[in-house]
């Protein structure tokens, strides 16, 4: 199992938080780094996309998004019925797990890169596409029966949210500019990517540390969920990727996307759309457990699954 040093930065941040270090990364640095990462991922995907006929992506995209909806649809009853979480909380957590984590995706790409494995560049398109639908579904699950949901503002909140705007904007710019057009920007957006990711993970570690308290209160059920859900999602993604004929790298990335839980777009949207849901639960699970779980355990497992099932399915 090869070793990915950026994860050590997450561990350092976590440790600093746990020993109550006075190390604090200012909130604006978090903002600036997340803008950088979203834009860089979008650009990279866009450049790759410029080499492909976009039309061939429509069908796989529909399949990828359609199958992904199984995740919140399964997670919701598990949490609501089995876990006895209130409807709002179950729906909100389900939305987080149905949506995707950009940073987990970045670490997985980086993992592939350091192994020298390739993957379809258009996986970023799926990343952008997967962000929204689970959130909408989550709101619908929370609001079932209620008729007063104001969908307009919600859709605006997510579609005009910074993660979609930057991912989609980056995709478009990369696609329009192409490999040669983007080259003068490579020194910032590609060469610095991994170092910036390391910084961001340091911050994520600090943030995750401050969420550990929430988790203790959340109970064992959510803890188990936060590890079994990504494994199941990862398997679903790997199988879907194999059936769609992706490369091993692409299969592994789709597994990671399905397995990952959102903590940028989903928390902000659910906070407004389903205010009665407790954000400590959803963010605690997604960021406190699933995120580090995927970094340490998940990504190698999805890669292993991909190598095992690729070609077989």
């Amino acid at each position: 199992m090869p070793f990915e040093p950026v994860i050590l930065f997450f561990a350092l941040g976590l440790l600093a938080g746990i020993v109550r270090s006075d190390l604090k990364i200012p909130g604006v640095v978090y903002e600036a780094l997340s803008i950088f990462l979203l834009l860089a991922i979008g650009l990279k995907g866009g450049v790759e996309l410029s080499r492909h006929p976009v039309a061939t992506l429509v069908l796989p995209a529909l399949v990828v998004v359609g199958v992904a909806m199984l995740i919140p649809l399964v997670a919701f009853p598990v949490l609501h019925r089995l876990g006895r979480f209130p409807r709002a909380d179950a729906a909100s957590i389900a939305a987080h797990y149905g949506s995707v984590s950009v940073v987990t995706f970045a670490v997985a790409s980086s993992y592939l890169l350091s192994r020298g494995d390739a993957a379809e560049g258009y996986m970023v398109v799926f990343l952008a596409l997967l962000e929204l639908p689970a959130i909408v579904l989550g709101v619908a699950l929370a609001r079932k029966g209620a008729t007063d949901t104001r969908w307009g503002p919600l859709l605006h909140e997510v579609l005009a949210g910074k993660s979609i705007v930057l991912l989609a904007g980056g995709l478009l710019i990369g696609w329009l500019a192409g490999v040669d057009g983007i080259r003068p920007l490579d020194k910032v957006f590609f060469d610095l990517f991994k170092g910036m990711l390391a910084f961001f993970l340091l911050e994520m570690g600090l943030v995750a540390a401050s969420r550990l308290g929430d988790l203790r209160r959340a109970g064992a059920f959510l803890l188990g969920f936060a590890m079994l859900m990504p494994l199941s999602g990862g398997l679903l993604g790997v199988v879907t990727g194999c059936l769609l004929g992706f490369s091993v790298g692409g299969v592994m990335l789709l597994g990671t996307l399905y397995a990952s839980a959102s903590y940028i777009a989903a928390p902000a949207a659910m906070r407004i759309a389903v205010p009665e849901a407790n954000p400590a639960l959803s963010i605690g699970a997604a960021l406190g457990i699933t995120f580090p779980f995927n970094l340490l355990v998940g990504i190698p497992v999805y890669h292993w699954l991909a190598t095992q099932l690729h070609g077989v399915l």
Partner: protein
């Protein structure tokens, strides 16, 4: 005193940063003519909020207005947000130079 001072109300609201756009929309809809926002962190019934990222950041909104508007703002925010959001509101008297600027 040479410059005449008139009493108005200063409404201060401390809440989750995620609410900013919604709060501003509410205030505008109520006909408020001005407000001031600063970034904040803190702690309260909803636990510590350290502003390390947006999901744990607070804002502090200040609003000079007349008593009727203060009451209306308090009612509206109380109704829309108190149940589910971290929010604290308090009202003090403040002397201003141009009372008509803070009336309606």
């Amino acid at each position: 005193m040479n410059l005449p001072l008139t009493l108005r109300k200063l409404v201060t609201v401390i809440c989750e940063a995620d609410l900013e756009a919604h709060l501003v929309a509410d205030l505008t809809q109520l006909g408020v003519r001005g407000y001031t926002i600063t970034d904040a962190r803190g702690s309260g019934a909803h636990g510590p909020r350290d502003a390390a990222w947006r999901a744990s950041a607070n804002i502090r909104v200040e609003l000079l207005c007349d008593e009727a508007m203060a009451q209306q703002v308090a009612e509206t925010l109380h109704e829309r947000y108190y149940a589910h959001y971290g929010m604290v509101m308090f009202i003090t008297d403040a002397a201003v130079l141009r009372p008509q600027k803070f009336s309606r």
